[in-house]
């Protein structure tokens, strides 16, 4: 179980491979790996967005993400879980967040992955400030609902 806050761009596939190589030795027990990658869009609320800055509360962010992963471990039969999240200046197409969950069966991996992502969206203290094409800056007021299509 691990939480990493990244100040620089990261390749989620490389992170995943490195984590599996160093942390997951009982690979024979793994029957399901669920991987979610959130990337930055170049639009929001009808406007083109050319970049954004992600602020966070150091310490509380890690504490809340640890609690979310522990809650997931308690609720589902997981072998391991990993969250990697960017902070700082981010640009369209760059990964913002990686959630990976390993389990023996797909139901646990799928459901825990969704739970972790939705809990992160509502509890982990990150804040996005968007930079629009006209150089205007604006704070994102709230996250969209994860179970609605827009």
């Amino acid at each position: 179980m691990a939480v990493t806050i990244c100040t620089h761009p990261f390749n989620p596939y490389e992170v995943l491979q490195a984590y599996e190589a160093t942390h997951l030795h009982a690979l024979g027990a793994i029957g399901a790996t669920s991987l979610f990658i959130g990337t930055m869009r170049d639009f929001n609320d009808g406007d083109h967005v050319k970049g954004m800055t992600l602020e966070h509360y150091p310490g509380m962010t890690e504490k809340q993400l640890d609690k979310i992963l522990i809650e997931a471990q308690n609720q589902w039969a997981l072998i391991d879980s990993l969250v990697v999240h960017r902070v700082g200046d981010i640009f369209p197409k760059e990964p913002i967040v990686l959630v990976a969950v390993w389990s023996s069966h797909r139901g646990d991996a799928f459901d825990a992955s969704r739970f972790i992502m939705e809990a992160l969206k509502s509890k982990a203290p990150f804040w996005k400030k968007e930079l629009l094409l006209n150089e205007q800056e604006r704070w994102v007021a709230k996250n969209s609902h994860g179970y609605q299509s827009s």
Partner: protein, 77 residues
């Protein structure tokens, strides 16, 4: 007792500072901390509070050495 206060994101910008350090002699709640630190500002709508990096209600008590944080709804992920 001494309380550290942190502000984040749009709240930090609207207040114009990122932190305060307050000294109190009476027992107090999270809401009291907000009022003492920002006597000329009503509590903004939707602002969340944390004590020692855990979410807290506004009527939660705070103790000597606690770190209180105020911030808008989170928007990560």
């Amino acid at each position: 007792m001494s309380i550290k206060v942190h502000y984040f994101a749009s709240l930090k910008e609207s207040i114009g500072r990122s932190k305060d350090e307050l000294i109190f002699t009476e027992p107090l709640t999270v809401y009291d901390v907000w009022q003492q630190a920002n006597p000329d500002k009503d509590r903004p709508n939707q602002i969340l509070a944390a004590v020692n990096m855990d979410y807290a209600d506004w009527d939660n008590p705070v103790s000597d050495g606690d770190v209180v944080a105020f911030f808008p709804p989170v928007t990560g992920g």
